[in-house]
């Protein structure tokens, strides 16, 4: 979709953004910078289905933090500090987010002039002016002072800390959790991420645009279809092109298969953590059905290399009948299993009133996806922003109001059913025609493109800028987990340590999508 670019002076930025966010259901999309010489704040208007990118030129690397007026800005400002060296003043708890002590303090990957060379050695711009490449070599020199990280200290009689990670006990991505507890009760959870930071956003500006999509899909492959779709929409909007109806349908089918597969995975994980193994193993099997649908559609269990700028790579028309049958059967087999799951007293007891997030904090921190909708937030990007057949085709929004683990499970169960039903409908209504249009070879100059997609975790944003030569100068990705990690930290407060795995699973967050 097209994004309107407007300028707002730095001195008026906080007030302007605050006012915008307090009117007619506007939302904060993301806050970042293009190359460290400006701040960009993307404000979405879901009701109109539009977005405005507010740019504020910077003279120095300091700016006034938005956090005192807009809480959800806190995470973005931490990331900007790491990637551009921009320092927010009055940020209540500024600390590094992506780059920790392993990286030299001079490393500012996305700042203008920083060059990441091809053979594993990198040079950082050490100087504050940001002109040209500096000469601090990154080889093994760790500047502990520059990358200090102090978790919040909770003090008091009997309070102790449980550090967990970065390597976890199960088969999941790495991250560090630090619980401050009294007895069995969690007082505070500090979440430290960045362990799978691979420099994806930087690399996206270095590769030719036609090869960007492979990297985008591999950034967080459990959302490969959603990432590929957001990328494609962003690129198509740069060219001001739309894709054939058939492609829109096939893309939506792919997106909904991914949603179904991941919701099954998350619900199965929840049952597993409760110890309800009959359900978790059944869900493991049923996820296999969803993955075979994915494989039939795209040739890949995780739907890699299917959705691309211009449409879809190939037209899987011969397989669609089988996929429709599988979707129908899967939907039928899930119904009794979900009834067993939700009617089990013990399972309900483990989920009810556990890991609550209030509607107010949900709004303040901008939680998205099932996590937001479990706390009464109605926002679902499929209702508002153009991607696939949405918002033309309306899907029912699953909303719960209790904000606990059970609500998040219920939202997923309802969405899962809708997705499978939708897949059948879309296959029935598939239009004739081509599924791919050719796009020009070079990107337009000085343009901005935006893609917003409701991934299985919630709103995913890709924002692309090109420079005066038509090269991609900035590729910003906002994974839904960026909003929702804070939600997890809120949810576990005053809950038992032993309920943490459940709370965690009920959010089902991505580390790699956050770290990039």
């Amino acid at each position: 979709m097209k994004v309107e670019r407007r300028e707002v002076a730095l001195s008026e930025r906080a007030e302007t953004i605050r006012q915008l966010l307090h009117s007619d259901g506007n939302r904060l999309g993301l806050i970042s910078s293009i190359n460290g010489s400006q701040l960009i704040s993307l404000v979405l208007s879901p009701n109109e289905g539009t977005a405005v990118c507010w740019e504020s030129p910077l003279q120095t690397k300091q700016y006034h933090s938005l956090v005192p007026v807009i809480s959800e800005a806190h995470w973005f400002e931490r990331t900007m500090w790491d990637m551009f060296g921009l320092e927010p003043e009055n940020h209540p708890r500024l600390k590094h987010n992506l780059l920790h002590e392993a990286y030299p303090s001079s490393l500012l990957p996305l700042k203008l002039g920083f060059d990441s060379s091809v053979d594993g050695k990198s040079e950082g711009t050490g100087d504050n002016t940001g002109s040209g490449a500096g000469n601090d070599s990154g080889e093994g020199i760790v500047n502990l002072n520059g990358r200090d990280y102090k978790p919040m200290a909770v003090r008091g009689d009997g309070i102790y800390e449980i550090p967990v990670g970065p390597i976890h006990a199960g088969i999941i991505e790495p991250g560090h959790f630090r619980f401050s507890c009294l007895g069995e009760v969690i007082f505070n959870l500090e979440i430290r991420l960045g362990y799978v930071h691979r420099g994806v956003e930087k690399r996206l500006c270095e590769v030719p645009w036609r090869k960007q999509r492979f990297l985008v899909e591999a950034a967080a492959s459990d959302s490969a279809a959603a990432y590929a779709l957001a990328h494609s929409i962003a690129i198509e909007s740069l060219f001001d092109r739309s894709v054939p109806q058939k492609a829109e349908f096939l893309r939506t089918i792919s997106l909904e298969i991914e949603r179904a597969a991941m919701h099954i995975n998350d619900l199965g994980g929840l049952a597993g953590d409760i110890g309800y193994l009959a359900i978790s193993s059944t869900m493991g099997r049923l996820r296999g059905v969803a993955l075979s649908m994915a494989e039939q559609l795209t040739g890949s269990r995780l739907q890699r290399n299917f959705i691309c700028p211009g449409g879809v790579i190939f037209d899987p028309c011969l397989k669609l009948r089988d996929i429709k049958n599988s979707a129908h059967q899967l939907r039928m087999s899930l119904q009794p299993v979900m009834t067993f799951f939700m009617s089990n007293e013990v399972a309900r007891d483990r989920m009810e009133n556990i890991g609550k997030v209030s509607a107010r904090l949900t709004a303040d921190f901008g939680l998205v996806g099932p996590a937001g909708r479990a706390s009464g937030e109605r926002y679902d990007a499929r209702q508002h922003f153009k991607h696939g057949v949405y918002p033309r085709i309306r899907v029912p929004v699953a909303v719960e109001t209790d904000g606990d683990v059970l609500s998040r499970a219920k939202v997923r169960i309802a969405e899962l059913d809708t997705s499978l039903f939708l897949i059948e409908q879309l296959i029935d209504g598939l239009p004739e025609g081509d599924a791919l249009v050719k796009l020009p070879d070079s990107l337009p100059k000085n343009a901005a493109g935006l893609g917003i997609v409701e991934a299985h975790r919630g709103e995913l944003i890709h924002l692309v800028f090109t420079d005066g030569e038509g090269k991609c100068s900035r590729y910003a990705i906002k994974d839904p987990s960026v909003n929702n990690w804070t939600g997890l930290a809120i949810a576990v407060r005053n809950n038992l340590v032993s309920d943490f795995p459940l709370c965690n699973k009920s959010f089902g967050l991505s580390y790699s999508g956050h770290d990039l």
């Binding site: 999941i172 991505e173 691979r198 090869k211 492979f214 990297l215 459990d222 493991g284 296999g288």
Partner: protein
């Protein structure tokens, strides 16, 4: 409760009996057919490959293509673009190799076809069971596939493969992802905590070579830049069968 048991019994046995069966709908990694390559003036496959896994030279009898499966993400763009059908989708899952060099295949010298598994005569230390510690440093797809090995369809436990929660109990370290800089120390300390004899398996293209992330400032260049790797399982992500087959090759391997 009884109704649930009834439901479960009704599902029957879903475990797949076909060990490493060819993929039906999946494409698998590319391989070479018998058909000759048009040579370096064509170069189509090389120019579309997102990871630089392919080189094309002109030889005596047409083109000589080298393909590094360890860098390949299986996107199949080379297969789609090849006008000669020299490159085809292998649809195979037994893709693990003991050395990095073995992952480089060529249309001229095809001594190691994709499906070959290296079995050895005498029994190894881990031949009955093997305990795996999984360390993830990647995009979670490889982890999902490792986890899928444990579901009732693939059921790796029937082959004696277990996942354990501590390196102290582990015989083999399964590493997924390209190991970016922030994970270097954590991964090394995990390896150090394992008792000898121990093995390391690089699961996935990222772990094998860094894949798409190789060469960036995050120094995410794969496992063997940090630890000695005993087996590589290419694929992005590898199929659960590829992972099971890889672990079994380590179980069957001799050098204790």
């Amino acid at each position: 409760m009884l109704r649930l048991l009834g439901y479960l019994l009704n599902q029957g046995v879903v475990t797949s009996k076909d060990y490493c069966a060819p993929l039906e709908d999946g494409l698998g990694l590319p391989e070479f057919s018998d058909r000759a390559c048009a040579g370096s003036q064509c170069n189509e496959c090389r120019s579309v490959c997102p990871t630089g896994a392919i080189t094309v030279d002109s030889g005596e009898n047409g083109g000589e293509v080298h393909l590094d499966l360890g860098a390949c993400i299986g996107c199949s763009m080379c297969v789609r673009s090849c006008p000669q059908e020299t490159l085809v989708n292998s649809k195979k899952t037994a893709v693990a190799r003991l050395s990095r060099d073995d992952l480089v295949i060529s249309n001229v010298d095809r001594k190691v076809p994709l499906s070959l598994s290296r079995s050895t005569e005498s029994k190894s230390l881990f031949y009955r069971s093997i305990a795996c510690r999984v360390v993830s440093t990647g995009c979670s797809a490889c982890d999902l596939e490792v986890a899928a090995c444990g579901n009732s369809i693939f059921d790796m436990e029937r082959f004696g493969i277990h996942v354990v929660a501590s390196p102290r109990f582990a015989d083999v370290l399964l590493v997924t992802g390209p190991v970016p800089k922030a994970m270097h120390d954590a991964l090394k300390s995990c390896y150090e905590a394992m008792a000898e004899p121990r093995r390391v398996i690089a699961v996935g293209t990222c772990a094998t070579s860094g894949g798409l992330h190789r060469g960036g400032y995050a120094e995410a260049n794969g496992v063997d830049s940090l630890l000695p790797v005993d087996l590589y399982i290419p694929g992005c992500p590898p199929h659960p069968w590829s992972i099971i087959d890889g672990v079994k090759k380590v179980m069957d391997g001799r050098q204790a």
